[in-house]
């Protein structure tokens, strides 16, 4: 570990407890001006907690933070902002009822006397968004934006303060490769301006590409701080997990011949046009596409969550009448939404209540048999290795990866035969990802059919036997077996003309 | 052994009930000042059902006499029956129970208020003209007054009652309602609003509209401000009909006397009903009805 006496930000003996549970244990790091500092760790390792301490959301239980040689106590986000620290948080921190520019300047508005100077703010917003290569109207309301657009606004919001230290907690999870390329380009430019960046990501290749040094946390303990050249991706994973990581992607299994799901000419009211495809028993079918391609809409149409304007769905050869999620449940369909917090889990409830929510009838015989619920909950906790400071706590206090495991358990408890997974590994660590991959594969081998919607090409290619690519509400390509090809997918997803040569290079470099 | 007297009245939701509470407290203070052997419990209820609870609580305290002005008579019927049946000396004020259960009932004359008012008004109008009416809250005494009023008016076919809507004995509602009446009816000769609180709102509306067609405005119940207006020769307000909230003070005196086994009011017999006349107050007799320190 290199010692820099002129450290910009020096973190000494930081501990953090949540109601008696230690989530950070004696963290000591020095962060230099103008470096990109990566923080790695499994879900729940304490990465977000550490960053939240630095930006004043949490106060440490003990320890000191020194900024430019002077000890500081960062007691609120306001104070952090004044000290030149800003953060792109892991969860969206935008006000849906306000416009883009109002969000970007929230809490630090440009004023003209007592009144707001909206013109100046709009102009600044436009230039920031242009820098991010995002064409958004400064006056668009946040509610109407897609996930990726929101993330870009979030980034712009952090940039507007022109801070010395910029904290990014998994900024890339909801972005596709194109936007990621833009973001990394931006990081490089910020670095030139001597801005320090703290960067969390579960995508090890990203970390390898852009970070100068990395800190690895495991269960709240500081494992190591290394210059990036000293470690490769395998080392990182090993340090995070604490042991050798075996094969990430399981061997692909062969689907049976029996067709279980067929969608014919499905269109919705807005985006989807004449979608037709079929799914066999024990098949793992991948859906690729850029953000906004309509994969989520398609899944929601099939589940009866969204009105269809035309089209038929056949389950096991029979025409299925699916107008509500309840109907879909009857056909043993399951759908893991990409929006875990907004649509998946009741964050104020505990694990058993969440896991049994859909399958409640199974446990009910006039009254709910709570013991039985607890038993099957314990089963899932073991099976998926669900970890938290307290397993009895509400899900709000769980890390993202563990929440995802609870979500998966929730749908598994309905005993589905067709499982639609929408970005199931978004924001979860390598080890948990590996567990989920192996789990999906074991399901498929047992004859469950899966549809995997993912923006990570690597995982689609590593897992699926067949991949469909969507663009602007249509299926534009289908690839099977050895014909699955990364370049091909990107072309079909973006439409060849939309993608200029440079971004394509950048993209393939990252992937 | 001290005697305990419970007094239960509706809470002060408009001027008259405020006057009532004022008189009740005055009587209690007066009696307590001279008579050390009486304890009073005064409770005020915002609704009939709350008052039922109040009376139940008073019974638990072991009162010897109950003086009650029922918020709504039928609502209080059962519980007052229980009080009466348990031997507590019961005085009901103002609003009579559907099936009487009391030692003494003391009240003003509600139908009389409507009747006396109607007769005076009809005479002032010379038996013809256009009239608007502002009613009180939807409880039986309002109906008694309005029915009696309409009964008299039937004898005057040339008097047209153009509108009759409730303003809940509230000054402000009366003001808004009267503003609307004034818009709606180009010619109004007289207004009857059965209550002096509402009359203030009516006067305000007329004044602001600058209308000169209205010759007579009659309220009721005899509040001190209105009686002052009569004394001061107001051109529109020349009369009111009494319905005096001091009746509760008399009721309290009855209650104390009854609990001691004395005859009520020092009379030589004990009346079961004391009905206070609805007196017409005009300039000549206004002085006799004027209590400047009263709340009403």
């Amino acid at each position: 570990m290199a010692h820099h006496t002129d450290a910009l930000l020096s973190i000494k003996r930081i501990n953090k407890e949540f109601s008696g549970v230690l989530v950070l244990n004696d963290i000591n790091v020095d962060i230099n001006g103008g470096e990109v500092f990566g923080i790695l760790g499994e879900n729940g390792a304490g990465k977000s907690t550490l960053l939240k301490i630095i930006c004043g959301v949490y106060t440490p239980t003990s320890g000191t933070i020194t900024l430019k040689g002077t000890p500081v106590s960062i007691t609120s986000p306001m104070k952090a902002k004044r000290l030149g620290i800003s953060m792109i948080p892991q969860e969206f921190n935008l006000i849906p009822t306000l416009t883009v520019f109002e969000n970007i300047f929230l809490g630090s508005e440009i004023k003209n006397g007592a009144l707001l100077n909206k013109k100046a703010m709009r102009e600044k917003t436009s230039s920031l968004l242009a820098e991010l290569k995002t064409e958004l109207s400064p006056d668009a309301l946040i509610v109407n934006l897609s996930v990726a657009e929101k993330q870009m606004v979030e980034i712009a919001k952090a940039l507007v303060h022109e801070s010395d230290i910029l904290i990014m907690d998994e900024p890339t999870t909801v972005l596709t490769s194109v936007e990621i390329a833009v973001l990394f380009d931006l990081i490089a430019r910020l670095k030139e301006k001597n801005v320090t960046i703290l960067f969390i990501s579960h995508k090890l290749n990203e970390v390898k590409n852009i970070c100068d040094r990395i800190l690895v946390l495991r269960d709240g303990d500081q494992i190591s701080v290394n210059d990036i050249d000293e470690v490769d991706e395998q080392d990182m994973a090993r340090k995070m997990v604490g042991r050798e990581l075996s094969q990430v992607f399981p061997d692909k299994s062969v689907p049976e011949d029996e067709e279980v799901l067929r969608v014919e000419n499905l269109s919705d009211l807005k985006l989807l046009k004449n979608i037709s495809f079929s799914l066999n028993k024990g098949e793992l079918l991948g859906f690729s596409g850029l953000i906004g391609a309509g994969r989520t809409e398609l899944a929601e149409c099939i589940m009866g969550l969204r009105p269809r304007s035309s089209g038929d769905i056949f389950v096991k050869g029979e025409q299925a009448q699916i107008d509500s999620p309840l109907d879909a449940l009857d056909y043993k369909l399951a759908y893991l939404s990409e929006d875990r917090k907004g649509k998946g889990l009741l964050m104020s409830f505990g694990i058993p209540e969440n896991i049994s929510l859909i399958s409640l009838a199974k446990y009910t015989n006039l009254f709910i048999n709570k013991k039985k619920v607890q038993q099957s909950t314990d089963g899932y906790i073991e099976k998926f290795d669900i970890k938290a400071a307290s397993l009895k706590a509400e899900l709000d206090y769980f890390s993202g990866g563990n929440q995802q495991k609870v979500y998966l358990s929730k749908w598994m408890d309905t005993d589905p035969s067709i499982l639609v997974l929408d970005e199931p590994t978004r924001g979860i660590d390598v080890n948990a990802k590996r567990e989920i991959y192996h789990f999906i594969n074991s399901l498929v081998t047992q004859g469950v059919s899966c549809i995997l919607i993912s923006s990570e090409l690597e995982e689609l290619i590593g897992l699926c036997t067949r991949i469909l690519v969507m663009r602007e509400g249509r299926i534009t390509a289908e690839m099977t077996g050895e014909h699955i090809n990364e370049e091909e997918i990107m072309f079909s997803a973006a439409g060849v003309k939309d993608m200029n040569q440079t971004t394509k290079e950048e993209t393939s470099e990252i992937l | 052994e001290k005697i305990k007297v419970g007094v239960s009245v509706p809470s002060a939701d408009h001027g008259w009930t405020a006057g009532l509470l004022w008189w009740a407290k005055k009587a209690v203070a007066d009696i307590e000042a001279t008579d050390k052997d009486v304890t009073f419990y005064v409770v005020a209820a915002s609704s009939g059902t709350k008052q039922v609870g109040d009376v139940e609580d008073l019974m638990v305290k072991g009162i010897d006499a109950l003086v009650i002005l029922p918020h709504n008579p039928s609502t209080l019927q059962k519980v007052v029956e229980e009080v009466y049946a348990s031997g507590i000396y019961t005085v009901v004020v103002d609003r009579e129970l559907p099936s009487p259960a009391q030692h003494v009932f003391i009240a003003g004359d509600n139908p009389g208020l409507g009747k006396v008012g109607a007769e005076w008004l009809a005479e002032e109008m010379g038996g013809k003209g256009k009239l608007v009416v502002l009613e009180g809250m939807s409880i039986p005494i309002n109906k008694q007054r309005v029915d009696a009023f309409n009964e008299v008016m039937k004898n005057y076919p040339d008097i047209e009652i153009m509108d009759s809507q409730p303003a809940d004995w509230s000054t402000q509602k009366a003001l808004a309602l009267m503003e609307n009446y004034l818009q709606k009816h180009q010619q109004i000769d007289a207004v009857w609003c059965q209550d002096d609180d509402m009359l203030k709102g009516v006067m305000q509306a007329i004044k602001e509209a600058g209308r000169t067609d209205i010759k007579t405005v009659l309220g009721g119940a005899g509040s001190k401000d209105i009686i002052k207006m009569i004394m001061d020769d107001d051109p529109l307000v020349r009369s009111t009909v009494t319905y005096n909230p001091s009746m509760v003070a008399s009721g309290i005196v009855f209650g104390v006397q009854g609990a001691r086994g004395e005859t009520v009011g020092g009379l030589y017999h004990t009346p079961s009903r004391v009905i206070l006349a609805a007196d017409l107050v005009v300039k000549e007799n206004a002085k006799d009805f004027y209590f400047p320190e009263s709340a009403y």
Binding site: L357, L366 | A44, S74, T75, S138
Partner: protein, 319 residues
């Protein structure tokens, strides 16, 4: 990382049992303040007074847990009461008339609740506004059908329901507590109860979890209407009459206060029936003590307001 269940229990206990602590403290203070307080007769009086709004508060708990609110309950009491007594008077003085009236009251109450439920689920109008409107509508219809006159029952058996006793305990108290037990199980131990919590905690998640969100929301209003039907019977039989302009007035506020003092957050998502029962009793004791101590009638509102604040504050501070 291990699980710290001891911590959990400590955390949950405090906030959960705060209403109970508040009640116990209130009882001790009341007993010290007034010799009459612990008299059996006084206790049953309080409980009977509590049973009217208390029963409604039970139904209100479901509505609030599902993140709604029902402001129309007070007016609904009047409407249901008036219709029930009209029917009974029409049917004569038999026991059958009473039974029919009880049945119809509960039916009409549930129907009124269903109307609220439909406006909220089909019309997609916030429950606050929807029931604000029906509050006005129900009261107005009551005044219209009764022409604002008091409606008096001519049946001699009817008053027995609200005024009678079983083992010295008034029937309304027994009915209130019996319903509380029933609703407790409905909320805590059935799929429906769990769904109510889910809908209140996050509608969107509930939709994605294949819960019939509209149906569940609708049913909470029906339950609220049902409890109003029961209260209308208890109250009108106790009084043997209904006064259309006055019956049930401000019941919505008392019922909501009971639910919230009982620890159910207005934002919904969770709540307990026994908390509501305790909340209702706390309010009842406060009312009783104000009378017992002879607090100036003008100041009673101040004391009541302060005690509500303190009760709620105590809940928050204890966790």
């Amino acid at each position: 990382m291990k699980s710290y269940s001891f911590e959990d229990i400590k955390r949950i206990d405090y906030s959960k049992y705060a209403p109970l602590f508040a009640l116990v403290i209130l009882i001790i203070l009341s007993a010290l303040a007034s010799e009459h307080f612990l008299k059996f007769r006084n206790i049953t009086n309080i409980l009977r007074q509590v049973s009217y709004t208390g029963t409604i508060a039970l139904g209100m708990t479901f509505v609030i847990v599902a993140a709604g609110i029902d402001l129309s309950v007070g007016s609904m009491v009047a409407l249901v009461g008036v219709l029930a007594i009209y029917l009974m008077n029409y049917l004569g003085t038999s026991v059958f008339a009473v039974v029919a009236a009880v049945f119809v009251a509960i039916l009409v109450g549930s129907l009124c609740g269903a109307v609220n439920g439909l406006i909220v689920t089909r019309g997609k109008i916030t429950s606050f506004i929807a029931t604000l409107a029906t509050m006005s509508i129900f009261r107005s219809l009551t005044l219209y059908v009764s022409e604002a006159g008091e409606v008096i029952s001519h049946n001699d058996i009817y008053p027995e329901i609200g005024g009678g006793y079983f083992l010295n305990i008034p029937y309304p108290v027994l009915i209130f507590l019996g319903l509380a037990v029933f609703f407790h199980f409905l909320l805590n131990n059935t799929a429906f109860g769990r769904h109510v919590c889910a809908v209140g905690a996050n509608r969107q998640v509930a939709i994605y979890s294949a819960i019939k969100v509209r149906w569940v929301t609708f049913m909470t209003f029906v339950i609220s209407g049902f409890t109003v039907g029961v209260t209308a019977i208890l109250l009108s039989s106790r009084l043997n009459s209904v006064s259309p302009g006055d019956a049930g007035i401000f019941y919505e506020l008392d019922a909501i206060a009971a639910v919230v003092i009982g620890g159910t957050p207005l934002a919904g998502g969770k709540g307990t029936i026994w908390g509501t029962v305790i909340g209702a009793i706390i309010l009842g004791i406060i009312n009783n003590m104000l009378n017992m101590l002879g607090v100036s009638p003008y100041l009673q509102g101040t004391v009541k307001g302060l005690i509500i604040l303190i009760a709620v504050l105590a809940q928050y501070k204890s966790n």
